[in-house]
């Protein structure tokens, strides 16, 4: 059973719908026992970094998440805010400590020309190979982005400058984009993640 963490930060229903669509059992919960017994954990979320951390703290979720993901190495998928919260620190709207599982920070996108937020479909790439087709276009909607202070497997997206689109370290996989909103490209990505960790 895959658990989607319910911590009051929106967007949960679409994640649940996508996981069901790829044929996996899923439950939305913030119950510590359910999280402990889950096979994998999804931390979704939209909203501000500070509100996200406060909501995790209020619901006593920090310890159980750290125990399951860092100690027990359970497969973990962070989406959008759920990717940002695993970093050391965020600044939306003020400096706030994150879960600190990956070394780095979450800072505002400071671009010159293009509008904010970075909103829409954009192609991701790794190793500088910039193909652009329906399979590698994902839906982004964010005004803050991750900067890494450790070396992990990454993909990037260009929005005046390269922005981390996804990161992977051991059992942790996290995306700045929304696979649950990215039609077949997103469903394939989710399916690949849960198949490789089945």
């Amino acid at each position: 059973m895959i658990v989607i963490i319910d911590y009051g930060m929106g967007n949960i229903a679409s994640v649940e719908k996508s996981i069901k669509n790829i044929g996996r059992d899923v439950i939305i919960s913030n119950d510590i026992n359910i999280i402990s017994n889950a096979s994998s954990i999804i931390l979704p979320g939209v909203g501000s970094f500070k509100q996200g951390m406060e909501n995790l703290i209020q619901r006593n979720l920090i310890n159980v998440l750290t125990e399951e993901v860092i100690k027990k190495k359970k497969p973990f998928l962070g989406i959008c805010l759920g990717m940002q919260l695993i970093m050391d620190k965020g600044y939306e709207p003020v400096e706030t400590d994150g879960l600190g599982w990956i070394k780095g920070e979450v800072i505002p996108i400071e671009n010159q020309k293009l509008p904010l937020p970075h909103l829409g479909w954009n192609n991701i790439y790794s190793n500088g190979v910039k193909e652009d087709n329906i399979d590698n276009n994902f839906f982004f909607i964010h005004s803050y982005h991750v900067t890494l202070n450790e070396s992990v497997e990454t993909t990037f997206v260009d929005y005046e400058f390269p922005i981390v689109a996804s990161l992977k370290k051991d059992n942790i996989f996290a995306t700045q984009f929304h696979p649950e909103k990215s039609q077949n490209a997103g469903l394939d990505l989710l399916n690949n993640f849960f198949t490789s960790h089945a």
Binding site: G10, A13, V46, P115, N122, I141, S143, K181, N184, G186
Partner: protein, 248 residues
């Protein structure tokens, strides 16, 4: 590269889908759930769904219907109509809406917009800017006939850090004679947030006209998809021919 988004808009009267002309004379155009299913299968980039009568009839949006619409969609969905409280927004986000579209509360109580942005984040708060041209001045369309100038409203909205503006030309709504390019240009130059252009598309060349201006936001439309043979895919193909980045 970020793609130009091609977005169909569904307007709902509480019972059926309708399409208006200049925000009046609603004509019934079908079933919302069926329409959402078709658009999902056509890989549209997003969907906008608005209950255009909720505020007027002082009722809440029908959440079970909205949920069925959203359940058909594996792309982002923006939902609008009758939003008055943070709970209204939360209820929509909980059933899978990605963005909410707000108009009346933005006109009546700007602090509500500030609160909503603070709680839910900029990215999910979209503002409907419905503009009516009267003689040479542009006003926000408002059934209470408050003559709020476009410029004044945009100044207010710019202070709220919203995520997106859906800009509709009321004069061009349903007319299928082309976008109001001058209006779009004016608004794009007034704000830094992404602008979705709506109102007037009736032919493929109307999208090319938008693209020719070099504007790379989002192109929304309704009538062309209801009343002609064209689908969003044909719009994308014609744009790709003009070297506009689209998701195909």
């Amino acid at each position: 590269m970020l793609k130009v988004r091609i977005i169909p808009v569904l307007t709902f009267n509480g019972i059926s889908l309708v399409k208006t002309k200049q925000f009046s004379n609603p004509r019934i155009v079908g079933n919302p759930i069926q329409a959402a299913k078709v658009y999902n299968s056509r890989n549209v980039d997003e969907l906008v769904f608005v209950d255009i009568n909720a505020t007027k009839q002082n009722r809440k949006i029908n959440l079970p219907v909205v949920k069925k619409v959203i359940d058909e969609c594996f792309m982002p969905v923006t939902i609008g109509g009758g939003i008055k409280t943070l709970d209204d927004i939360n209820n929509l986000l909980r059933i899978g809406a990605d963005k909410v579209l707000i108009k009346t509360m933005a006109l009546n109580n700007l602090n509500f917009i500030v609160e909503a942005v603070k709680y839910f984040g900029s990215q999910c708060i979209s503002i409907a800017v419905d503009v009516i041209k009267h003689e040479s001045a542009r006003y926000i369309f408002d059934r209470n006939d408050n003559k709020i100038l476009l410029e004044q409203f945009m100044n207010d909205i710019n202070k709220c850090e919203v995520g997106e503006i859906i800009l509709t030309s009321v004069n061009e709504d349903g007319m299928m004679q082309g976008y109001d390019l001058e209006l779009i240009n004016t608004v794009v130059n007034m704000t830094k947030v992404p602008v979705v252009s709506l109102g007037g598309a009736g032919k493929l060349s109307h999208f090319e006209e938008l693209a020719a201006r070099g504007y790379d936001g989002a192109y929304a439309a309704a009538s062309i998809y209801h009343f002609t043979q064209y689908t969003p895919r044909e719009v994308k193909l014609i744009l790709k021919n003009s070297n506009i980045p689209v998701r195909l």
